[in-house]
Symmetry: D2
Subunit: 319 residues, 4 copies
């Protein structure tokens, strides 16, 4: 193994740059040449490679986004596109590829492995929805972004009898909503994994108001519904004034937290170690504070699991 | 003048607590007894007064919200309500009242003055929409909150050809949108003071895309329209993917900036000085870095003015 | 078990309030009366107890410090002092006590257990130096505070050939220095657990400068030495300009991160569950993401372990 | 005027990049070619020029530091060095130069003007110590950095009878200490402009303690003395435990505040406008919210003035 490449793909996540830095520097430390592939699988197909030096990844550990850019790539979903990608890798004499991203990224990576190209995945997505790893890069930053918003709303919430509804990311996974809701002290947390009828939420709101609660904050994962719609229904049913916040892509950015930088540094370095020891077809994971490689198949074998005991805890603590 | 009272009213704003602290401590420094009135004009009518000590306002300078709470009060809009308020003030032997809030607050304050009760207003609102003062308490914090959101969006915006629309507060005044848009480097800023047709915005977006611009951030003051609606129209007309952020009451909270704390400290102290020198029927203002008192009538004589040269500058700098 | 009490002791840590909130609300949820003891063991001896309601711990989850205050207590180190403490607990009909703090706190807690009083400890200290738990409450916030400082230094560090030395907390444990140094991309990390001679550091600095590195950031745990002293020696030996930052108690404050709030919420709730299930003489710990109770003896049986592989990783990644 | 150049010099300040962006984009808007000069006057002498495009200054408005780097330059203090600089400017056919920095920067700029080269200065320094302008770029960010530190200390300060001493920047000017001290609610503020004997400070501390004050925060501008030394003396004289924070270069970094970005954008654009209208030998200033050009001589004619009424106010409000 003499030359490796690294790319980022899918929705970006804070900490991706820290992971790229770790790949580059751990690679160079072990005598490798490390190439960056720009704009994900698109750049892979088009041969948009550039060798990265120690200095190329200086002053990036703290930056959100990804210096390699990311992009969607429909072409890579075709057999032909993937063949072209492997040709480019061969043409640039790359011996191994590290892909940083989420589910879609790894499905692509697996296809490359099937074509015989050694590939290691690093889980980078704010959604924390990858099976087999306790955490993904970017998740900790995203929930801190959300609780900063909740804290600000709480500052102003004490004065008026109002209901605040905050819509956060999470189409299929309620991780951001659940952890941010628990950490933010939200009164209700609506996630795809738990069926909460609007009746329950309204009953809870009214019960709170009866007990003298001045205001309530409801966190909604986007997969459950739109904050605007839910707000209208709540306001109609309770008569409480309702105010909406939709954070949107604010959650994808920001300087990564210490947790995400450490995780990204460890995972990026591990990906290089795995390639060097002849591994392929693997995703880097963290389990019980240990960073290790697991088979892509294991990562994909079952749905990501959300610990619902935190949902119960949040409801107890926000009484 | 031996006993004064202070209240906060209307939408709360970061820095209100710093202003309350300044009123209390400057009052006590000058030998006064200072009373807090809870929940704005509602507490004034109901006699919800409590004497505040030096310690009552310890550890509050950095807190968002208002320790005196705020509330709307329909009753105060009636002659009878205001009579009751003055009776309460007389009953508690209060010699002067300081009201911290926005336009509505000062209309109430002026009515009290007309009933013969010495009242001084302190402009506290994130909207910066009070005539006669260069800045209101809370505005600087709010625009910093907005640019933090814009910065995060920018982190993620570089990867995809997308248009991001951020809706900020400002029903009648575009101050938050304009200054935050200029400071955030937004490509378009839609404010009530400037007629921008959707056609222009779309033309600007397309022109940017033609020049290779990957993404655009549009700031919309809520008075202009809903980000959701504008987003739909833009997406339809351009075909660019559009993503929405609605910050909502996030903008009302947060720890106040240094600017807002200094402004609030100076204004709160000045309000006491004005009462002590026999003034009434006045609002505290800052002009050319000087804190002074101006007649309520002057404050209300004309509409708050927004410096539109900044709008032109923002469009030059975001080419 | 009908009445329990909770106190905080030792150096305070961000997240202590979130832990108190969890104790109070989980207690009340289970039908208990929960009392706060003010100023740690001092208040325990003096009988400074106050019953806490659901509302007492509203709006505190995001606050640094501790609403119960903390204090040193020499008296509690005497047999007599501890007897008085138990008498106060009995007098107030308290059935179980939860103490939130660090090493010293738990030594006190153990003594109470020996006197027959059921006590559960919750690890709250920024130093992360408690054996038996992967994390202590406050540690994650502290390292984020440190990396914010490092990031700011880095902004300015690119212009001049300078060496920046940042002294952080950690008398006996290098956890803060190590994780913050890794996350901050520091060039050298000096911790009590690893002997680094000044010669090595200076050699590393010179080597970096030879390779064109413009600046270096060195993190020093206070247990290793004073940044001022080390700075003088480095400057003398290398001739590089050296600039010093000593963060001090800045590291103890700040709004807790999501991680610390979730940890504190889970740990505080668990402490109540342990008391309710008849446990005593235990500390709450987190291991492999699971919150559980471990014997005080186990917690004290060996020295807290620091994963030094991160030290090696940091040196690879900051080449 | 067809080609202009811009450089940053001296200690860097948050907002310098926003000023560079404004110079570049306003220049290009007016049909100019704009060149960046790297590493201040050093790059000017060495001919380190690069043409900047609209895209060169994309995504920099929010970054601390300076993308053009800064450096000290002893050579520029010689007649010969300055002659070389002018030759380089002529060689690159530059018609006007914009220098962003502090006092030393402008002394250099003035010398260039004396050699016949049109030069405009933009005040960028966290110290706010330039005469003739109400604010310099970077000052607002720096005081917000300091109050963030003070807020964190305050979180932990409530528990123990301690004195916290925070040393901030300001060799000759107390602006940072004074405004941050006022905004942070510090009990004492020691600045070069006001003689405060150690006796007074100690008396104030003891008086506070007698009144029940648990802790005090003292802000010291570095020009007054070292926090370590003052801390030792205070501890010796009062017996109170004393804790030290030295922020150092943390104050020079960080993402610029909205205030600094708006100021930098307006000032940078104005510098171009001044060159275009044939002005030279001028510094851009902000006075009474208006951005304008003033003669270098006026800027240097008298010492920067600090409004000491804020010092008195801070002492009243921290009783």
């Amino acid at each position: 193994m003499k030359r490796i490449a690294v790319l980022t793909s899918g929705g970006d996540a804070p900490g991706m740059n820290a992971a790229i830095r770790a790949v580059v520097r751990n690679g160079i430390y072990h005598g490798l040449h490390v190439f960056g592939v720009y704009r994900g699988y698109t750049g892979l197909i088009q041969g948009d490679f550039k060798e990265l030096s120690v200095g190329s990844v200086g002053d990036v550990i703290q930056r959100g986004g990804t210096i390699l850019y990311s992009a969607r790539c429909d072409e890579f979903r075709t057999e032909e596109g993937r063949q072209q990608a492997v040709e480019q890798l061969r043409k640039h004499q790359i011996d191994g590829l590290i892909t940083i991203g989420g589910d879609g990224t790894f499905q692509g990576a697996k296809k490359l492995t099937e074509l015989g190209f050694p590939t290691i995945g690093v889980p980078g997505t704010i959604d924390n929805d990858i099976n087999g790893t306790d955490y993904t890069i970017g998740f900790d930053t995203a929930i801190n972004t959300v609780i900063d918003a909740i804290d600000r709303i709480r500052d102003t919430a004490t004065s008026h009898e109002r209901t605040y509804i905050v819509e956060v990311m999470g189409r299929d996974a309620g991780d951001i909503a659940l952890l941010a809701g628990l950490a933010g002290g939200a009164e209700s947390i609506l996630i795809p994994e738990v069926n909460s009828s609007l009746e329950e939420i309204i009953a809870r709101l009214k019960h709170g108001a009866d007990r003298g609660k001045k205001h309530s904050i409801i966190i909604v994962a986007e997969g459950v519904g739109s904050a605007v719609d839910i707000g209208r229904q709540v306001q109609k049913a309770t008569g409480f004034e309702t105010r909406i916040t939709v954070l949107g892509h604010v959650q994808r950015g920001g300087t990564p937290t210490a947790f995400d930088r450490v995780l990204a540094s460890r995972m990026g370095a591990k990906a290089v170690d795995l390639l060097l020891s002849g591994k392929k077809d693997m995703m880097v994971a963290i389990r019980n504070n240990e960073v290790l490689g697991i088979d892509f198949d294991e990562a994909n074998s079952q749905k990501h699991h959300l610990d619902l005991s935190n949902h119960h805890l949040a409801s107890i603590l926000s009484i």
